[in-house]
Amino acid sequence: MYLQDLIFRLQSFWAEHGCVVEQPVDVEVGAGTFHPATFLRVLGPEPWNAAFAQFCRRPKDGRYGDNPNRLGAYYQFQVGLKPAPVNVQELYLASLRTIGLDPGAHDIRFVEDDWESPTLGAWGLGWEVWADGMEVTQFTYFQQAGGIDLMPVTAELTYGVERIAMYLQDVDSIFDIRWDKHTTYRQLRHPWEVEYSRYHFEELHAPFYFQLFDTYEAECKRLLGVGLTLPAYEMCMKSSHAFNSLDARGAISVTERQRYIGRVRGLARACAEAYVRSRAALGFPLLAADDGAAAKAAFDGALEAGVNAAALAAARAVAPAAGEAGEVSRAG
């Protein structure tokens, strides 16, 4: 199976299961979780089901294209399901079958791996999913993002598409993956790896990036002040990438590192709070109209205790009655 077919199949599968197939965010990110379709949509009471492939930059992991398993940038296929369906594990396993990883032929296991993003103020519990000893997916139940407790809980599935393709195509190097019938991963991606490794490790001008970081940070704060949440969050993503680039360049000492992470986290928290407020102001439009109004009323009523408490109150106002979940699980 070609790499692009793998992505096509995952897209079709999740589209059939009610996901919006989004496109990658056009800003540098280190993981699909940064995509507004994940980081922002997991907040608040509104439902959201989305799938997309995301180009992810990890400057520090660059190896000049010499290492068959490590890249400075790669693709994640990410699925966000909110609220996480009761049968999300079964759905996920069905998605594996569509790409040729049948549990009757392979040893599929869910092995503990808790996820945490210090820059996003986010964490969740879940597993890395193993197929014959190889990690093919990160499966996480988000518990908190931007410091806000999440209700309903989102299930985030992150497929490592290169790993899966290497396995299915029986190749030992990422660069030997066939993208389609005519094109290899090497042809598409190798020059980038070579040049960006040199750039991040040798040529990146640190003072310029320090200045970028400060500018993005200031701009993020300014935009939040004028009520532009989405552009503000874009600045947060950009500051995070500036930090990752400086980190790869070795320009940030161990003690400074924690401070920079804290600064990005501060922006992420502020954006998260602003986002929930902005959705409340719109009456949580992805909920049915009645529910949106009820959630908004509950949010406004609890806002005195903070955005976190208000977001929980909004979710509780539209939560299915106790016992319903049990009915669903028996049916499932």
Binding site: A105, D107, R109, V111, G133, V153, D172, V254
Partner: protein
């Protein structure tokens, strides 16, 4: 009729370590709750797999026994009128407890004066089913998960989302509710091999029904099956599995149905030291390593591994090939780091430590290495080691911390340094000392084998301990983030092992000269020379810290607390000597302990009152010729020379033997026919104090008798 209880909580995959802990704690939790609920029961068994946590309680009573309870009311004076009729207060008390006022009695109450009105209340026992439902609903959220989560819109938290609950008492469903679920009788089999619901008749059906559905619910049985699977692979391959208890426990709780699959890796990777390969495949992949069983290379690592799969697959070869592919990048990484590391000399790697902070106020790791080298030279000199070797080993001991392999596998610190030093042709004493100096790595690990390693181990730990106390990073309560207690125990176990009475004494003669207080002082001097201020009270605290750890170690040896305290009270810095004194004290019987403790107490009291027994003993002041005073002094003179010699020779068995010999004379001194020490006449009193002081002085060098129990109690 008693019945069996079955509870099963079906969930998404529970992390292996958390499952082990829950299985271990569950029986005690349910036992305590059943006791509180007054429900007698038989055996309790906890069962579980990654997808379920279960509990079976055998022979649970079908109802609580009725309860007769005495309830205390008002005092009789307020409860009964003078004519004996109950007052309003007593009637109210009776009504509150549901008893007839005529049945009220009068009775004394322990700890109170006078009599009180007492009612005897009958509480009818409830049906077990009625009691169990709330009990179990309270138990489920109380399970001890280190991290819990919410799911969907739920408020309930659990280790992972829960999908079903089975709760049966006998054959009946108990309607337990949790997280929007309601208990039934349907469990599920293996996720892939038998996913359908299975109705259970009762607790007895549980394990067999699941076994038919490819789930081994009993962790012990599953562990046995993992072992059997490993044995099968051994038989098929002619190789031997490197057994690893921690890994075995983990993989047992990673699967519901274990199936071993063997894979191969490229023998070229065997150029990398075995520890690296074993760690890489264990930590990242949870594989067992394999070794040659026969032939010239018996025991050598084989290019094979075993993974414990969680399901039966159509073609095991596919699973093997997949795992082989998964492990390749791990081994390639390990080989890459190993080769890269070897491009630089170990000492050169060590230079990078000048930029790594050890602890903010204690400088870099490089600075620590320099201090440890100085300190280790001192220790080495005291025990007669070659100074150049000690210095070289100290310089290289931490160098591997900046190597690639240790960066990837921190648990290989020391081990890699040893390999790199050996491969670079360093002397054996040096390369052996590098991994050795981290030992003992834990309570179950042995102290260093090599002399240079032992000297380094002592110096390294003393620097850390004294340094941390100096910068106020000493352990508090249960918090010991820097592992200082373990470090102190490490130093003491090295000294105890190498000194007299220790397992390694024969080849460690000179180690007996090391004293903890001097080692602490030396560490302080080196720290101060490097610019770290160590206050005198810090040194005092470190001494007490070591003394506390030593006491713990000796108690762990099975010595009696009072023997240990008495021995340490007379000096502990020479730890082996203190241990021998504590051991030998055991021969002293209770009577002898009692009389010598009495001497100590009398002398202490006198000292507190400011009475000092000055001067020597004057026999002319004894109360009568040939009385108990004369006899005691004579008895003492009779043994004095032998005693002094025995003390000087550290022959404590002999010392305590002489103490026992002296005991009758001391006892007679204190007996009814004896004398009163605190005589009104100061001259007589002081003379008797002087006599007692003289008698106890040689013994006080070896034991502090005040620490001995008053009633004796030697064992």
């Amino acid at each position: 009729m008693p019945a069996d209880l079955l509870l099963e909580l079906g969930c998404e995959e529970i992390p292996a370590k958390m499952l082990s802990r829950a299985l271990a704690e569950l029986p005690a939790m349910i036992t305590a709750r059943l006791a509180e609920a007054r429900l007698p029961h038989g055996e309790i068994v906890a069962l579980g797999t990654p997808r379920r946590l279960a509990l079976v309680v055998r022979g649970l009573a079908d109802r609580q026994p009725d309860l007769r309870e005495r309830v205390v009311g008002p005092p009789v004076s307020a409860g009964f009128a003078p004519d004996g009729t109950p007052t309003k207060a007593a009637i109210g008390f009776a009504q509150k407890n549901g008893v007839d006022p005529a049945s009220l009695e009068r009775a004394p109450v322990e700890g109170k004066k006078g009599e009180y009105v007492v009612a005897t209340r009958h509480v009818a026992g409830q049906d077990a089913a009625a009691v169990l439902v709330p009990l179990i609903e309270g138990l489920i959220p109380a399970l001890p998960w280190p991290k819990s989560m919410r799911w969907a819109f739920g408020e309930a938290t659990f280790v992972r989302p829960m999908h079903w609950i089975v709760c049966l008492l006998g054959g009946e469903v108990l309607p337990v509710r949790f997280a929007g679920l309601r208990a039934g009788r349907a469990t599920r089999g293996h996720r892939f091999l038998a996913p359908d619901a299975i109705d259970l008749a009762g607790a007895d059906a549980y394990a067999p029904a699941l076994q038919r559905a490819f789930v081994i619910a009993d962790p012990a049985a599953r562990r046995d099956l993992v072992i059997a699977e490993l044995r099968r692979v051994e038989a098929e391959s002619g190789l031997r599995v490197r057994m690893d208890e921690g890994l075995l426990a983990e993989v047992t709780n990673l699967v519901e149905y274990p199936v071993a699959v063997m894979g191969t890796f490229d023998p070229a990777y065997l150029e990398v030291p075995e520890e690296v390969i074993v760690t890489a495949i264990r930590n990242h992949q949870r594989y067992f390593a394999m070794e040659e069983r026969d032939g010239d290379h018996r025991g050598a690592l084989a290019p094979r591994f075993v993974t414990i799969a969680g399901t039966i697959v159509r073609q095991p070869a596919v699973v093997a090939a997949g795992n082989e592919r998964a492990v390749r990048p791990r081994l390639a990484d390990a080989q890459f780091f190993f080769r890269e590391d070897r491009k630089k000399a170990l000492a050169e790697h060590g230079r990078a430590l000048d930029d790594v902070v050890f602890l903010a106020k204690l400088g870099t790791v490089g600075a620590k290495v320099a201090r440890v080298a100085r300190l280790a030279e001192g220790v080495g000199a005291a025990v007669g080691l070659d100074r150049t070797l000690v210095r070289r080993a100290a310089e290289l001991a931490k160098a591997d911390l900046s190597t690639g392999v240790v960066g990837e596998f921190p648990e290989l610190q020391g081990i890699m340094g040893g390999h790199y030093a050996r491969l670079a042709g360093e002397p054996e004493a040096v390369w052996r000392a590098i991994p050795d100096h981290y030992r003992p790595r834990g309570a179950s690990d042995a102290p260093p084998e090599s002399d240079v390693g032992a000297a380094l181990a002592i110096a390294d730990r003393l620097d850390t301990i004294v340094g941390c106390f100096a910068i106020d990073q000493e352990p508090t309560g249960s918090a010991d983030p820097l592992g200082l207690r373990r470090a102190a125990i490490g130093v003491l176990s090295i000294l105890l092992e190498r000194g007299p009475g220790g397992a390694r004494f024969d080849d460690g003669g000179p180690w007996r000269h090391l004293r903890v207080d001097r080692l602490i002082d030396d560490a302080r001097d080196v720290l101060e020379a490097s610019g770290v201020a160590v206050k005198p009270e810090d040194v005092g605290e470190v001494r007490e810290f070591f003394r506390g750890r030593l006491r713990g170690l000796l108690l762990d040896e099975g010595l009696q607390p009072q023997d240990v305290d008495a021995a340490l009270g007379a000096g502990w810095s020479d730890v082996c000597d203190a241990r021998i004194r504590a051991r030998d004290l055991a021969v002293v019987p209770a009577e002898a302990r009692a009389v010598f403790k009495r001497i100590s107490n009398i002398l202490d009291d006198a000292a507190m009152k400011g009475i000092a027994a000055a001067g020597g003993v004057r026999p002319e002041l004894f109360a009568a010729p040939d009385n108990v005073e004369h006899r005691l002094l004579r008895a003492f003179h009779g043994i004095e020379q032998v005693l002094d010699a025995a003390v000087a020779a550290h022959d404590y068995r002999r010392v305590f033997g002489l103490l026992v010999e002296l005991q009758p004379a001391v006892a007679a001194f204190f007996d009814k026919g004896g004398v009163m020490v605190m005589d009104p006449d100061p001259a007589l009193r002081d003379n008797r104090l002087a006599l007692l002081g003289k008698v106890i002085a040689p013994f006080a060098k070896v034991a502090d008798f005040r620490a001995l129990a008053a009633a004796g109690g030697a064992s």
